[in-house]
């Protein structure tokens, strides 16, 4: 079943957010508007450009399924493991319900019947002077639970009175989503990447997705999930490297206090914030454990970022690894690989 233009644009909006969709997709379509609904209306109003818009949006979405936000775990492979890893990328793509509509997601009724096991839907290979990456793209049904305010229509009069007097009445809601996860093998750096869809799932739910992806790896690799690269040492190095923009940093003060500094949405870099700079100059030692750093991609003028979710605990227990990183606002896999390159240099 072909999705409407409106549905496709709404999917993009949900995955990448209004601000990025407006600047990136809007630039490609030659369309701009102040609000999402107005944007969609302008697209729908141009009936003579419908086919052109459709093609552009389809191409944009196909890249975007490997973009948006992803949680990454990276494994360094030796020569023998690298040879065995390559077998994973020789698999044939099976028929599946996901495949019928890929790269678009299944609609709700079909998704409810879809499997939770990752299903291979596409393969890509990226090669140029600096890159040689094989990618297997998987789709699966997944769930996450969210605690939300219970709608007033479910409350009795007593319940509504209780709420009006200040009580919080919440419920747990379960959402069914379709994840676009992928496994990539970078033969230049001998690294295997497990990437879980962060645009669909909160980080706390990513663990089971990683486990499911890990089970797809050939047993001959003799890998354990705990073998993923530890990126904790990158936090300080990324902060100190004078490129990009630090959007958020968590640190320990010289007296053992924990602090967090986040720039405002229109700000540029924490390192230029007057208050933070003053603190750094006075304290001299602020030990960073958590960081979000962004870079502007020259070709798209899109700001993409990586979040290293370290904890204070990692400063006290060296055995605790920071083996999961989060990429955000990526338009496709090239952006994800760009961020990984930045981190690789900082290890």
């Amino acid at each position: 079943m072909e999705l409407t233009l409106e549905t496709k644009v709404k999917l993009i909006n949900k995955r990448i957010g209004w601000k990025t969709m407006r600047s990136q997709l809007g630039k490609q379509l030659g369309v701009t508007a102040q609000g999402a609904d107005l944007f969609i209306n302008k697209i729908l109003a141009s009936s003579d450009k419908k086919i052109e818009y459709n093609n552009t949006i389809d191409a944009f979405w196909k890249n975007l399924v490997l973009g948006g936000a992803h949680y990454l775990r990276v494994f360094k492979l030796n020569e023998e493991q690298s040879k065995k890893a390559e077998n994973l990328f020789k698999l044939q793509i099976p028929d599946s319900s996901f495949n019928e509509i890929y790269p678009y997601p299944l609609q709700h009724e079909d998704l409810e019947k879809a499997p939770m096991v990752p299903t291979l839907v596409d393969k890509q290979t990226l090669t140029d002077a600096d890159t040689s990456v094989h990618i297997n793209i998987y789709c699966n049904k997944s769930f996450y639970t969210s605690i939300e305010d219970l709608e007033s229509s479910f409350l009795t009069e007593e319940g509504r009175e209780l709420r009006n007097s200040g009580a919080e009445i919440t419920c747990k809601k379960r959402y069914t989503v379709q994840c676009y996860n992928f496994i990539a093998y970078d033969s230049i750096h001998n690294e295997l990447l497990l990437c879980v869809d962060g645009s669909q799932l909160p980080r706390v739910e990513a663990k089971k997705e990683f486990a499911a992806l890990f089970r797809l790896l050939p047993k001959e690799l003799m890998l354990k999930l705990s073998d993923a690269i530890n990126y904790f040492s990158c936090v300080e190095n990324l902060y100190s490297t004078q490129d990009g923009y630090i959007q958020n940093v968590g640190f320990l003060t010289p007296d053992g206090g924990t602090s967090n500094m986040k720039i405002k949405s229109t700000g540029t870099c924490v390192r230029h914030d007057t208050y933070h700079k003053g603190g750094e100059d006075a304290a001299k030692i602020l030990t960073k454990f958590k960081l979000t750093k962004a870079w502007l991609v020259a070709s798209t003028s899109n700001k993409i970022s990586v979040f290293l979710p370290g904890t204070r605990f990692m400063l006290d227990d060296p055995s605790k690894k920071l083996d999961e990183i989060c990429t955000k606002n990526c338009l496709g896999v090239h952006d994800t690989l760009f961020l990984l390159n930045k981190i690789r240099v900082a290890v």
Binding site: S233, G256, I285, D317
Partner: protein, 144 residues
């Protein structure tokens, strides 16, 4: 009256005499040099990994083992530039609770650690207690 440089030199000489392993002695010297620097003048809560970060040490188990020995010596009664203290992490995601020396000492004798904030016994406390270091008066005096 000795100068700051002479005092530091004495500490380094003492270290080299006391520690037979040149690797560990060398790391001790590096740590002492850093703690005596102006950058570390206000460094009052020193964790294992914050020291690693400041000294740009490799995050390997070999370096960690050396660092443990070095810090053990620097905080011992011999050199005593640092005091070793302990903190409790009930969970990884909460801020740690500082533990009085007497509390942790009793815990190791009796096998039971009581959370100083709740009074409740801490299950598997040995996995949840981690050291950190503070500067002694001896170290702070060279910054005065």
């Amino acid at each position: 009256m000795k100068t700051k440089e002479q005092i530091i030199e004495d500490w380094l000489d003492e270290t080299n005499r006391d520690i037979p392993s040149s690797d560990v002695a060398s790391l001790c010297s590096e740590i002492i040099g850093f703690l005596a620097s102006s950058k570390a003048k206000h460094f009052n809560h020193i964790t294992f990994m914050s020291l690693f970060t400041e000294l740009q040490l490799e995050h390997s188990s070999v370096e960690q083992a050396k660092a443990l020995k070095a810090l053990d010596y620097i905080s011992s009664a011999k050199l005593h530039l640092l005091d070793m203290k302990f903190q409790l992490y009930e969970t990884e995601h909460e801020d740690p609770i500082e533990l009085e020396t007497e509390l942790i000492s009793d815990a190791y004798k009796t096998g039971v650690l009581f959370n100083p904030e709740t009074g409740e016994p801490v299950e598997n406390f040995k996995e949840k207690v981690f050291p950190y270091f503070t500067r002694t008066q001896k170290l702070m005096s060279i910054h005065a």
